[in-house]
Symmetry: C2
Subunit: 251 residues, 2 copies
Amino acid sequence: MPLAASIAAHPVAFPVIAQANACKNCSARPQGFCAAIKAESLSRFSLTHTSQDIEAGKTFLNEGDPATHFFTVTEGTVKLFKLLSDGRRAVTGFLFPGDLLGFSDADKYNYSAEAVTPVSLCRFPRRQLDRMYADFPGLESQLLKLVTRELAAAQNQMVLLGRKTAHERAASLLLSLIRRQGRSGRNAGWIELPMTRTDIADYLGLTTETVSRVFTVLKGSGCIALAGGKVRVADAEALADLADGIGGDDE
Amino acid sequence: MPLAASIAAHPVAFPVIAQANACKNCSARPQGFCAAIKAESLSRFSLTHTSQDIEAGKTFLNEGDPATHFFTVTEGTVKLFKLLSDGRRAVTGFLFPGDLLGFSDADKYNYSAEAVTPVSLCRFPRRQLDRMYADFPGLESQLLKLVTRELAAAQNQMVLLGRKTAHERAASLLLSLIRRQGRSGRNAGWIELPMTRTDIADYLGLTTETVSRVFTVLKGSGCIALAGGKVRVADAEALADLADGIGGDDE
DNA sequence: CGCACACTTGAGTAATGTCAAAGAGTGTGG
DNA sequence: CCACACTCTTTGACATTACTCAAGTGTGCG
C-alpha cells in the first residue's frame, strides 16, 4: 500500500510530520536512489520532496517541457515514450516502484511519461539537487549508479530492437518482467502485465497484431500462460533460450 | 595530433613529467569528463591515468570481462557492440574524441569495444574512482552528466530502431555524425565515415545491402554525396525531414 | 444491456532480409 | 609497374518476416 496515497486521502494537522514518516515506511525505498539515505536522515530527507498520485492513463510528463522536477515511482507502473512527428510511438521503458524518472541532463525532459496503472510518485525539485548532494552524502553516487544501470539496460534494448526476432523480443520482455517483479516478491509464478498490447508493441518495435500472435504461439507451446492482466511463465528455460542473453530490461 | 601517440613514440627520461603535460595539450579535453578538471589541477590529474594506442580493427575491450578500467577516447573512432549467441551483432554506439568508454555499474563490461580507426585512449583504474572524486571536485558530477546524456542518446536510438524506416535511420545517422564532427570543426561539408557498411548496418538494425541501397537512393536524390571514406551532406534540410526529430546519436 | 475498448485471428502486402555475383578500391609481391 | 588477392561495396533476383487491413471475439463499465 502506498503511504503517499493514504496521506493524500487523510489530510493531517501537521503535514510536515506526516511527510517525515513517509520515507521511513516507503516500500520502494530499498530499491531506488532513496536507498542511499541513512535511517537517521530519513525524516530530514522526507522534507526534500512531495508525494503525488496519478490516475491510470494520465500523461503527467511531456517530452520537451522544462525539466523542473524529477521523480521516483513508489507505487504502480509507468511507461516512458517518445513520439515521431507522424504519431508513431516508441515506448522506451516501463517503470516500477523504486525506479527513477525525469532525471535529465538538459533543461527539458527527454521523454513523456504516462501512468499505466494508478501511480504514486515522489517529486523532487531539480533546483535543490546540488543542495541535496551536500546534505545527503552518497546521493549523487547512487544517482550515478542508477543512471549507469539504466544505460546498460538501454543498450540491451538496442540489441533487442536492432537484432532480435519478434519471438525473441517477446520472450526477452517476459523474462525481464519476471526478474524485476520477482525481486518485489509477488505471488508465485504469476506476474502482472498491466500494459496493453499496444504498449508492448511500441516497446518491442512491433505491432499489436504481431505481439498478439507471438503470445498465442508461446501459449500454445506451453512456455507461458495468460489470464486477465497476468502471465505465468511455465517454461522459463525455453523462454530464456528464445530470448538469448536475457531480457531487454530497463533499470 | 594525439599527444599520447607522440609520447609513446618518443620515450623520455622523466615520463611522469611528460604525462604531466599530456592533459594540458589534449585536444579532447574540452569535450569529455576531463573538462571538469581545473587548469591548475591538470598536471596532478595527468597522473591518474595512462595513455594507450590501439591499432585499427583491434577489439580492446570484451563484454563480460572484469571492468577494471574505464577510458576516454582522445583520438580516432571506436565502436561499441554486443553479440547474440549465434553471432548476430548490434553496434550500440560510435565514439569519438572526448567520449567516455567502459564505465560500468556492475563489475563487468556491458559491451565490447573495437577500434574502427587507429585510436588513442586514456585509461583510468576504476579502483581509484572514489579517490578521484575526492581529489577533483566536480568530477563525479561531470560523469553523471555524461552518462545521463548518453542515456538520452540511447533512448533516441531506441526510437530509431523500434519505429523508423531504413531511410529514416540512415538520415538520422548522417545528421548525428554531422553534428558531432561539426563541433570538432573539420573541413567544410565533408565528414569522415570511417566505419564499414557492416558496422553501420549493425548500428541501424539493418543489413549491409539495405544500407548500401539506401545510400544509393539518398545519393541519387541529391541529399548526400559519397566519396572515399567521406560523406558530404548536400541537403541537410531534406535529410532532417527524412530523419524526423533528428538523429539517433550517442553522447 | 449495450457500447467501448482491447485482444485475437485471418488474408494479402510490403519492406527488408537472403543469396548470389559483379564491380571498385587497396595492398602485396613478382 | 602490373597482376593478383583480398575486402568492401553495389546491384540483382527472390524469400520471408512482420505489417496492413479487416473481421470477429471477448471483457469491463456505464
